[in-house]
Amino acid sequence: MSPGLRWRKFVSGFMLTMTGVCAAVAVSVLFFILGYLVYHGGTSISWNFFTKLPAPVGEAGGGMANAIVGSAKLLLLASLIGVPIGFFGAIYLAEFSGGTVAFIVRYAADLLNGVPSIVIGIFAYSLVVLPFKHFSTLAGGCALGLMMIPITLRSTEEFLRAVPGTLREGAMALGASKWKTIGTVIVPAAYRGILTAVLLAFARVAGETAPLLFTAFGNRFWSPGWNQPTASLPVMIFTYAIAPYEDWHRQAWAAGLVLLGLILVINIVARAILSRGIAVPRS
């Protein structure tokens, strides 16, 4: 072997090893994050965390029951806004529209998807908080719902399009009208994909903090109804982490563990649902 070739082979082996190191570093970050959260959060999580209100400043103990309920309410509202618009919009894109209109809708959805979450917060602020004149669960839910729309829309459309054309033709050849074909054949055929899309969109907004800062704001007590400021897990993590109290830091870790656990479980479940479904191209 000539020295030149030996050198080239060495470079090849070295660089390829380096790419492996890069991949290992990138993936190990996930396990660092999980490890730290389990280590710090696991030791500070307790029954009180789920059942008690936050303790007054300076007092140890207390929990985040109001933030957990607040997050649940926000996410419910977000789903009520994001899922129908995303789902029916996707049906229009995949089944009814042609050319220009579809292009514009897709363009708008991609644009909305790329908007930084803090800007979505400003938008929801001027849309809901300003007219009602105070922070509310409603405003926070709207902000999160707006973020869910484009994610649900685009991936649902992909899954609807992946349904084989022969199914459509078969149903219509039997005399079914188009909406019957969609309702009884196409959507059922794509339901795993659609469920995955909805779950992933849900998981994505579940951890969003920035749009809640000035829409749902925060609250150290229960927030009755939909028209009051409310606490939420992500915002609690933020405020507790940057506060100077040791006890709050522990609770921030616990909240982080709960939030990340929830998000990762939803992600894994969503992918498991999809992988057992019909063969669809990866989106």
Partner: protein
């Protein structure tokens, strides 16, 4: 965004051949209109978003004009608002993050697409997807309690020792600052670079590799001189995508950047970013001019990410079509 290659021929002509009345009776036209309303609302929302941002930032646009971006006094008491320190902080942290994330991300993508067996690659990609799902406030939490102490005690003193002659690495080690924010951002955007670049590399036609190998190039040469250049556009797209994320990222940056409006050559210096100042001051903004100045900052972020995302999409679609156009993959 990547449209599936198996586009199904729509049943349009069949439906179109029936009369309008019969379509109404069978519900097709009604279903079409209802779903159209939902689809149209997406466009409406987007337009409304642009309108609100534009309308909400009239005052500072009229009062400061272009000086808003050139001056660095941010004084709510005297109603003076100059955004330069925030713009500087945003660009510097995003720049630092790309310097770290691009080599690491592309390296990892090459490993996943070119070297790893399909099963390993898919498993690792699954972890990368999970990493992309970690919310930014969690990165902030780890940033505050893990990265900041690490920076203050080891990394910043170490850099000062070795590279301290550069103005970049001078000044006291606070832990928080541009460098820390950049590192946390890098960790956050790496998954985006990996996922998109991997897809792009996988779409490079196989014969490109085989041709290079058959001409006697080593595996690395085939990858670096043939496959990567072929995928160049799409990889650049993934970098733009990551840059857009990094510019708009709020929580993690807010928690580790130090929140002090400074323009300093030193990366150790605490700074401020556009998203962070909006997050911190929006609820406290008293007076219309103050609030509207913050909204104008939001508008700036919107325009930046809009341009970057658009470019990224074009590049990625063009590159993956180039691969598909060559036939077999």
């Amino acid at each position: 965004m990547a449209t599936s290659t198996t586009t199904v021929p729509s049943a349009g002509p069949v439906a179109g051949s029936r009369s309008f009345l019969s379509r109404i009776r069978e519900g097709d036209e009604i279903a079409r209109m209802i779903t159209f309303l939902f689809a149209a609302s997406v466009v409406l929302i987007t337009l409304l978003l642009v309108f609100e941002l534009w309308q909400g930032s009239v005052l500072p646009r009229h009062k400061f004009g272009f000086n808003f971006f050139r001056t660095s006094v941010w004084d709510p008491i005297f109603d003076q608002f100059g955004a330069l320190p925030f713009i500087y902080g945003t660009l510097v942290t995003a720049g630092v993050s790309l310097l770290i994330a691009v080599p690491l991300g592309i390296g990892a993508a090459i490993f996943l697409a070119e070297l790893a067996p399909a099963r390993v690659s898919d498993t690792l990609e699954f972890f990368i997807d999970l990493l992309a799902a970690v919310p930014s406030v969690i990165y902030g939490l780890l940033g505050v309690f893990i990265v900041v102490p690490l920076m203050r005690q080891y990394i910043q003193p170490g850099l000062k020792h070795t590279l301290g002659f550069l103005p970049l690495f001078q000044g006291p080690a606070y832990g928080v600052g541009f460098l820390t924010a950049g590192i946390v951002l890098a960790i956050m955007v790496i998954p985006y670079i990996i996922s998109v670049s991997r897809e792009i590399l996988l779409s490079v036609p196989r014969d490109q590799r085989e041709a290079a190998l058959s001409l006697g190039s080593t595996r690395w040469e085939a990858t670096w001189k043939v496959v990567v250049p072929f995928a160049r556009g799409g990889i650049l797209g993934s970098i733009f995508l990551a840059l857009a994320r990094a510019l708009g990222e709020t929580m993690a940056v807010t928690m580790v950047i130090g929140n002090t409006p400074t323009i300093s050559a030193s990366l150790f210096s605490p700074g401020y970013s556009i998203a962070a100042v909006i997050a911190n001051e929006f609820t406290e903004a008293t007076g219309d001019l103050y609030l509207q100045s913050l909204i104008e900052l939001g508008l700036v972020l919107f325009i930046l990410t809009f341009i970057l995302n658009g470019l990224a999409r074009l590049l990625i679609v063009a590159t993956s079509q180039k691969g598909a156009g060559m036939g077999h993959t």
